[in-house]
């Protein structure tokens, strides 16, 4: 059998298919998704989509003709339930078989459900799909009080949206800070103050022991472990994403939290690859991790496509980056939050926009920017170029960041 079967019609799945054709792959490509839609963008779902600024059609990553022109077969509405190794085919939930030479798992992740009582009440919602976002947007119309469980990116973006719509919002976070280890304590604290200033009641170090039933079948609020109850007519659960790895487990692939892949997106079995949210790779600092981001989906999928075409010349070494829009604030991160020996503050947090730039041995390794997208873009370039920088110039907002470079490494060609 020949051809590639890609399981998961998402950002990573679409990118794998598109990159395969871009790199001259000429065998059959089948992209299979369980949702009824062509692959679409998920980031707007927790942002503009909930408020109606973005429509479903505008979310499509590519239109249908893109796939037909490139001879990429997209199957929607089929859930792959089994991989038949001996027959080398993927089996859909209605029994349809999709034979392959190479299998790419881009099965994504799913929201971690609330682990206590009440998780199945009607107005307890999580966010992954466009249907989930529609349900949340619809619920926003009829409610006053919203409780958001989880102070990660999705929880905070939805809390910001609800607060901007005039809802009474309580956000419950189990740890001592927002956004976990993804941001520095300074940035977490900045956003904590922003949310509180806009009326969100943020409860840190707090846990919900159960979601309380109000009218039969519906949540009426949450009960904290302290015994306090908070009334709400909508509960949004944003307590993390879990890589969707069932098929990888069934195949006996090496597993961590996600499906283990090497720098060429190869799993522990030949001709089986994985990319995006479901995959776990070793990052540039040597840590094995799952990256749930658009950047990782695109870049790892591009590597997977190259691997299939036999091109192992460019391992996955992209600088990670991520963004989150909350209110009118744009939070952006680039690089790895690895050990650093110096922090430079550029700009004034009280004035609205600033960047925190993290150096190790005089080179930029990590950057956090708030409402400074231009600085974020330059930081990404400096990080991937491995540029040595002058910390004093870097802190000086009258000097362009690129002019703080004192020496570029041999990879410096991307820096202006």
């Amino acid at each position: 059998m020949s051809g590639v079967v890609i399981v998961g019609a998402c950002q990573a799945g679409m990118q794998t298919a598109a990159s395969l054709r871009e790199h001259g792959y000429s065998e059959a490509i089948t992209l299979i998704g369980e949702e009824q839609h062509l692959p679409y963008q998920r980031p707007p779902l927790s942002k503009g989509f909930v408020t109606g600024r973005t429509t479903v059609d505008q979310l499509a990553l590519r239109v249908e003709s893109f796939y037909t022109e490139r001879d990429i077969e997209v199957i929607t509405g089929d859930r792959i339930v089994e991989i038949d190794r001996s027959a080398r085919s993927a089996v859909g939930h209605l029994g349809r078989r999709y034979p392959f030479e190479h299998l790419v798992l881009t099965t994504g992740s799913h929201p971690r459900p609330f682990p206590g009582p009440g998780a199945r009440l009607r107005n307890v919602l999580t966010l992954r799909s466009v249907e989930d976002a529609v349900a949340i947007a619809t619920s926003f119309n009829g409610v006053e009080d919203v409780v958001v469980l989880g102070g990660g990116f999705i929880g905070l973006e939805l809390a910001a949206t609800a607060a901007a719509l005039g809802k009474t919002v309580t956000l419950v976070e189990a740890t001592a800070g927002l956004m976990g280890r993804a941001v520095s304590p300074r940035v977490a604290d900045f956003f904590l103050r922003q949310h509180r200033a806009r009326g969100v009641d943020v409860r840190l170090n707090s846990s919900v022991s159960e979601i309380i039933e109000g009218t039969p079948g519906e949540a009426g609020g949450v009960l904290l472990t302290t015994g306090e109850s908070i009334p709400a007519s909508l509960i949004v659960v944003g307590i993390g994403a879990v890589p969707t790895t069932d098929l990888g487990v069934d195949l006996g692939l090496g597993m961590g939290l996600g499906i283990l892949v090497d720098e060429f997106a190869q799993t522990t079995q030949p001709n089986v690859l994985a990319a995006g949210d479901c995959a776990q790779h070793r990052d540039l600092a040597g840590h094995s991790r799952v990256l749930t981001s658009v950047q990782n989906a695109i870049d790892q999928a591009t590597v997977a496509a190259r691997t299939i075409t036999g091109d192992l010349s460019r391992p996955y070494d992209a600088v990670p980056w991520f963004w989150s829009d909350q209110y009118d604030l744009k939070l952006q991160m680039a690089g790895l939050a690895q050990d650093h020996d110096e922090v430079v503050l550029r700009g004034d947090p009280e004035a609205g926009g600033f960047s925190l730039l993290y150096l190790r041995d005089g080179r930029l390794v990590w950057a956090e920017s708030v409402s400074k997208p231009g600085e974020h873009v330059v930081a990404r370039r400096l990080i991937s170029a491995g540029s040595a920088v002058d910390p004093n110039l870097l802190a000086d907002t009258t000097v362009r960041m690129q002019d703080a470079v004192i020496e570029n490494s041999e990879m410096a060609s991307t820096v202006e």
Binding site: P43, K47, S65, V294, K330, P373, G374
Partner: protein, 107 residues
């Protein structure tokens, strides 16, 4: 439906018809126009959907915002007076027929 005429750096021209309300960036992505990378998917966060807008219709799009202005200073190709980030250009009947030049590089 309003039309966009994308002009690639080699002079190739491609017409794309879109629903009003679609951004020039999404139109380019959805139809596979090469040269508009749009790393961030249209969040005005990355400066990789830089284009040059036909001067004749430039004033019919919403003006450059502050995030966009900052990002336009970081584009890979030179910023010109008609430079825009295509994720911030919303198509309407007013902008029907606009010619959008794609720069040589975005990264």
């Amino acid at each position: 439906m309003p039309s966009i005429f994308f002009v690639e750096p080699d002079g190739t021209e491609q017409q794309v018809d879109v629903e009003p309300g679609t951004s020039v960036m999404m139109a380019a992505q959805q139809h596979g126009i090469e040269g508009i990378v749009a790393d961030c998917g249209g969040a005005c966060s990355c400066a990789t959907c830089h284009v040059y807008v036909e001067e004749r219709l430039q004033g019919r799009f919403a003006p450059v915002g502050s995030f966009e202005d900052e990002l336009l200073d970081t584009t890979a190709c030179e910023r010109l007076p008609n430079s825009r980030l295509s994720c911030q250009l919303t198509m309407s009947d007013e902008t029907d027929g606009v010619r959008i030049e794609v720069p040589e590089s975005q990264m």
